[in-house]
């Protein structure tokens, strides 16, 4: 299968708002003269774990910045749960039910891990009794335990190892109770055990009803986790399918030639 640069998909479909819980149609993002995302379309099915793979610079982060509201796309439409949400700012997207983790995580250093998670549980209101009864803290602790931060939740982020920071990112995103969560390069720098632990957490989240999109530039950690994958390069989709199909796709292999392991 080969991709057409101008927007028809490898399987010749275009997507409509009800084709999945999250749908992007002909998404385009240009920065000055540079086209980072080139008429990309995809649909994410509810409660699936989708992999979004591509070499560095392929446009993965840009695509998701557009989708999650960090900045609006130059052109194209984003549908979430059937509604057009193109260009809605990030904090409103979170309220709609889409959260993400950040590669360059920057937790709040002035407070403990559990307090970081508590912030994510705070309502967007000026006057609230929330937090006064102690349930917010309870909930935050529960979430910390769920992601594996049970033993360190009263420490400050500065004292966490790399894997711990990642879990904190995950915990913060989970605390916003999203329906769809985007996880950005979660496996970077983790040992095999830590990868396994994280995989189990994400599968547990999926079992509880969440849809997950995992973005990464190499498939090593993803294979066991994802149901399906898209591969993009130079801002366009070059392959789509199960991990097996992707691995055997000639274009994907070419894209990764001499570069990452698959």
């Amino acid at each position: 299968m080969s991709a057409d640069a101008a927007g028809t998909e490898p399987d010749g479909r275009s997507y409509g708002p009800d084709d999945g819980i999250l749908v992007a149609e002909d998404l385009r993002k240009e920065f000055g003269g540079l086209t980072a995302v080139d008429d990309l379309s995809f649909a994410v099915k509810e409660q699936e774990i989708l992999g979004f793979i591509g070499p560095n610079g392929a446009g993965k982060s840009t695509t998701f910045n557009c989708v999650t509201g960090t900045y609006p796309p130059t052109d194209g439409t984003v549908y979430f749960k059937g509604d057009d949400v193109t260009g809605i700012p990030a904090h409103d997207m979170v309220k709609e039910g889409m959260s993400r983790t950040f590669q360059e995580f920057a937790p709040l250093e002035d407070r403990a891990v559990v307090k970081n998670v508590e912030l994510a549980l705070a309502p967007d209101e000026l006057f609230t009794l929330s937090g006064m009864g102690g349930e917010t803290e309870q909930l935050a602790r529960e979430i910390c335990r769920r992601v594996g931060l049970g033993g360190v939740m009263d420490q400050t982020p500065a004292e966490l190892p790399h894997a711990g920071m990642l879990k904190l990112e995950l915990a913060r995103a989970i605390a916003t109770q999203p329906d769809v969560m985007l996880v950005d390069e979660p496996f970077a720098g983790l040992s095999a055990d830590e990868v396994q632990e994280l995989t189990e957490v994400m599968e547990s989240l999926r079992r509880h009803g969440m849809t997950l999109i995992v973005v990464d530039h190499n498939m090593r950690g993803l294979l066991n986790l994802i149901d399906r994958a898209f591969v993009i390069q130079f801002g366009s989709k070059i392959a789509e399918g199960t991990p097996e199909e992707i691995k055997n796709d000639p274009e994907v292999q070419e894209a990764y030639l001499g570069g990452e392991e698959i």
Binding site: H91, V94, P107, L108, D110, L119, Q138, E142, R146, A158
Partner: protein, 418 residues
């Protein structure tokens, strides 16, 4: 919902019960109990002090409130204000104009003679007016502040009181509709507004015949204002909104990524800060010693002194803690009094110098340092050796705010590292 929650049962009822329990002072940390003790002690001051000293103490109460006002926006959300006198002046002039140029003439037109109760009502009306004017000022600064960073924001906050000062001169004779009697220019409004208590001068609500009684009454009225300010700021900063404020100071993007819009909170912080400052200034005009609506009082000498003092007081006491402002004000006033006794000609330099030294040696501020010291003391007494040995590596609020300011400067100045 994708995640299960342990939120079962009637959440609201549990919250209400929790608030009530807090109000009844059960289950409070030691430092909170100490804080309440401290405030209680403040309430007992009139029993211990002479009338003249009492007046000085009363002034300190206002310095506390002003510093709290600064801390609410600058200490908590990290939006550094360098001209907070803007809000104090709005409050002080606001109440004076409301009372003298609107409410009293209105009473006159309606043919009312105001006894003590009437005068108090008028005064309260003035205080409300002053607070509202200051709050409006908070909006005026808070909205543009969203678009400005670091030093640009500081410049705007520095200019605001200067512009206000000039306006007082420009409109000294009359400001149509809002202040038909004018704003008094540099010497201030000629007629001070009525005070709550006085000894037989015209213009008071309640007349007493002894200096001492008047001084005590003034102290307690000011103390009541402090309690109100404390209640309001405590309520806000200890709620979930309070942790959002400090989160904004640390990292606004983090706040957005968890679904909250920082703009709303930032403006609110300015408005709240302005209202508190204006309220304190307004009460001062009616209850304080040396209460006169003029620029020397409300801006400080040189148009900037009061703005600078509140910054020093709040930082010395501990940025981002409400109690810090109280302690800082006490220290500052004490230092000022001592210095004033020793080298009166050199004021305000030695106190300022002491302030700078305190910043260098106690960068976290008195209250946080004392809290840390207290914890280590407790750990030592309980034999928790490892707690004693652990060092608090997290940087102070001041340091983190300075770091963020530095990043903002570098973004503006641009260029590579020098």
């Amino acid at each position: 919902m994708a995640t299960e929650t342990p939120l079962e049962g009637d959440v609201d009822r549990r919250r209400r019960r929790a608030v009530v329990e807090k109000l009844l002072l059960r289950d409070l940390a030691l430092r909170h109990r100490l804080g309440i003790l401290g405030v209680g002690l403040l309430g007992l001051v009139p029993l211990l002090a002479q009338p003249r000293e009492l007046n000085q103490f009363t002034s300190v109460l206002y310095l506390m409130m002003f510093a709290i006002s600064w801390d609410v926006v600058s200490g908590y959300t990290g939006q550094l204000s360098f001209g907070h006198a803007f809000f104090f002046a709005l409050g002080g002039y606001g109440t004076s104009v409301t009372v003298n140029q609107h409410l009293l003439p209105l009473a006159g037109d309606l043919g009312l003679t105001l006894g003590p109760v009437g005068t108090v009502l008028v005064i309260l009306g003035g205080i409300v007016g002053g607070t509202l004017v200051a709050a409006l000022g908070g909006v005026l600064i808070g909205v543009p502040a969203l678009r400005l960073d670091g030093p640009y924001l500081s410049l705007v906050t520095l200019i605001a009181p200067l512009l206000l000062y000039q306006s007082l001169i420009i409109f000294s004779e009359s400001l149509p509709v809002l202040a038909p009697g004018g704003l008094g220019g540099t010497s201030g409004l000629l007629n001070a507004p009525p005070s709550f208590v006085g000894i037989g001068e015209l213009n008071t609500a309640v007349t007493v015949d002894q200096q001492w009684v008047g001084a005590v009454a003034r102290y307690y009225i000011s103390f009541l204002a402090l309690l109100i300010v404390l209640a309001v700021t405590y309520g806000v900063t200890r709620s979930a909104a309070g942790s959002v404020f400090t989160a904004i100071r640390e990292d606004e993007d983090a706040v957005r990524s968890v679904g909250m819009n920082p703009a709303k909170f930032k403006i609110f912080a300015f408005v709240l800060s302005a209202a508190i400052g204006g309220f304190a200034a307004a009460v001062w005009m009616h209850a304080g010693p040396n209460a006169a609506p003029n620029t020397e009082n409300l801006f400080g000498s040189g148009r900037i002194n009061l703005s600078i003092n509140v910054i020093v007081v709040a930082i010395i006491g501990g940025m981002g803690t409400i109690v810090g402002s109280i302690v800082g004000a006490l220290f500052f006033a004490f230092a000022d009094a001592v210095v004033g006794g020793l080298v009166p000609n050199l004021k305000p330099l030695p106190t300022f110098l002491l302030g700078m030294l305190a910043l260098v040696f106690l960068p976290r501020g008195v209250v946080p340092e004392l809290t840390r010291f207290g914890r280590r003391l407790l750990a030592w007494r309980r034999g928790e050796v490892d707690r004693l040995l652990e060092r608090d590596r997290s940087p102070s609020t001041l340091k983190r705010t300075a770091e963020k300011y530095r990043e903002e400067i570098e973004e503006i100045v641009g260029g590579e590292s020098r």
